[in-house]
Amino acid sequence: MIIRTKNDLEKIREKGLKSLYPGATKISVGMATCGLSTGAGKVYEAIQKEIEKAKVRILLGQTGCIGFCQREPVVDILEPGKPRVFYQGVTSERSGELVQKWLENKVVEDLLFCKMEKEDRVLEGSVKNYSIQRIPAGINGTPHYHQVPFYSKQLKIALRNCGFINPDHIDEYIARGGYFSLYRALFEMKPEEIIGEVKRSGLRGRGGAGFPTGNKWDSCRKAKGDRKFILCNADEGDPGAYMDRSILEGDPHSVIEGMIIGAYAIGAQEGFIYVRDEYPLAIQKLKIAIRQAEEAGLLGENIFGSGFSLKINLFRGGGAFVCGESTALMASIEGKVGEPRAKHIHTTESGLWDKPSNLNNVETWNNIPVIVSRGADWYSKIGTQGSKGTKVFSIVGKVKNTGLIEVPMGATLREIVYDIGGGVPDGKKFKAVQTGGPSGGCIPESLIDMPVDYDQLTQVGSMMGSGGMIVMDESTCMVDIAKYFMNFLKSESCGKCTSCREGTKRMHEILTEITEGRGTTDHIDLLKELGWVTAEASLCQLGATAPNPVLSTLRYFQDEYEEHIINKRCPAKVCRALLRYRILSDVCKRCGKCIKVCPAGAITGKAKTKKESGKPFKIGTEKCTRCGMCFEACKFKAIEVE
């Protein structure tokens, strides 16, 4: 059906509500990439079989990721009159049990994650309470969704629909308030008013640099030109950050709606979404969403019958990190190699094919419908002085609860890492958080109470970037991390500027020397100098920020560098050339597992049998390649690293 009026939209909303809350039991499986990589596909099939066997009317669907990726596959069951129940770590073998028990009004207690009795509806500013009449047996000890430590401090604006709607159903998106903001923007607001609202909201670009979104739109609207473009940067390249993938996989219409509102405000007629080649599922979900929006008359010619038209094209990237930079991205769409150019003239005036072009990132576009719906006053109350709203972070690495979280700007690192993330696992000591991807830096434990926003992160020598937060513990070597990023940047530098091409290469060489025990005390000064030149003389932000991982680790962890250089020791036991593996003879049970797994034949000794006591085990330092296989294989912790 083609939607022309608000009434039409209401009708689709009714349809969507029936799909979200049907009159029968509905089981949803989280099938974003994180779910699929842990077997959600098989879980889905197993549940489907069980439903067929049970011969009862149970609906089965899929959703995106609810954020707690570590607990995937996540399955939720919603039945009218009962609390919604979420299961975690479901396997195909145990899927049948979930269905059988549910039919007996019971739950599988050991897989239970949480229950839910109400749902937040951010777009509408309301809460939907489930009417509860029956409680399944065994559910009482389970926490409410809002009480789970991982969720209790979160405020979901950008992730509002992820995990709660089927991304392939536009009706379900509309049922949760989707496309009503677009209607409002087209019929109740002038383009200038929308820009004014976005300006007043204080929204800053979520892709990295944090430029005020409203100002960018304003300059693009004012730029001269009859043809203008809007673009969505979905080339999420920062390693460790995946919020854009999750939004595109779980709620693609939110980005499309934001883009249409933006295009109307700016006066653009055509748009592009530039998606990373590494995100095939996101591409698939976007294709479906664009087609559905076109079929519904919400995208394409004469949107909502308003006379406004917009075509959105999908562009698949080629796996080049530098294409996340605005001018490189535009060059790539034009069919050129993705090299950046100097930005003496802003892309808002002369961008794609030299036309005024407005580029925003996925999460930025996704925030727009909420700002239009709830207003700038509401939005700007969230966050800090200079950074408004919420930010999605991917909290990963050496932390107990890994996943995607969304908190108001200004939440402290401690709240994020400890309260939400649950701290460092295995009793190890927290060392640092890396933010901002390869352009960012490592923040040490002494700054754990700092509030996280754009300005604070810049002040401590890191940056927001797209929101990756990689937690590091005592077993992470900071020199190795600097080397890791330099290796990344060296291979991703497009090579246009000598300072970046050569600077990253030389810094990587020096860091390699240090991690392999050939460092000298001059190296630290040389790194600082090289870093300065690379930053000053490079054209784009890739080069300008390339030294950050080195400079920030030098700033807070210079002692670790010195330990490598002077004492030839790696305190975190990571840099292989400086390690020695040793078997503790008093702990060793002579089981022989290490001999079996050692690929280098470096271990001597004889395993214990019933008849013989065996011969002591030893690692030959000459042959040992320090691969760590024996260390991982030994159940008795008889292998020590020095």
Binding site: C34, A241, Y242, G317, G335, V337, V396, G468, F485
Partner: protein, 150 residues
């Protein structure tokens, strides 16, 4: 690759300069790499100088000028996978397959490559085999991972 197949792909996008990356990606999806003759044909067909086609083909990581094996393994070396030992997974694969990263086994069964983050950071270390992501890997799990691929 047969000329008719290339023609079909080009026709789908139109011989526009901006479609060159998508066209090369589609060709590669069928051929698993970009043979020289194919690039020359595309250059003529689209009236884009060969030097430019070659630049595109060598600039983007997703494109390969070398033939690949039947199965492609991409080991993720994103930051989260790195701090959880992604490089050890790569080492183990290199040892077990007897090839270095970027190479293909002699029996053409596997091509081993690395990738900078597939966005599955919470389940690291991860590897992608023929498009399917495998999470929570360890060196010990590697042999089991490979055994189903012929």
């Amino acid at each position: 690759m047969e000329a008719s197949k290339i023609d079909r792909i080009v026709r789908q996008y139109g011989a526009r300069e901006s479609a060159i990356l998508a066209i090369l990606q589609d060709i590669q999806a069928e051929e698993k790499y970009l043979p020289r003759e194919t690039l020359e044909y595309v250059s003529q067909k689209m009236r884009i100088p060969m030097v430019h086609v070659f630049r595109i083909a060598t600039f983007y990581n997703a494109l390969s000028l070398k033939p690949r094996g039947r199965h492609k393994i991409d080991v993720c070396l994103g930051t989260a996978c790195h701090v959880r030992g992604g490089d050890k997974i790569l080492d183990k694969l290199e040892r077990d397959l007897g090839i270095s990263v970027g190479e293909t086994t002699k029996d053409k069964r596997f091509t081993l490559e690395s990738v900078h983050c597939v966005g599955c950071c919470s389940l690291g270390p991860v590897a992608v085999i023929d498009g399917d992501v495998h999470g929570r890997l360890s060196q010990e799990k590697v042999p089991g991972l490979l055994k189903d691929f012929k």
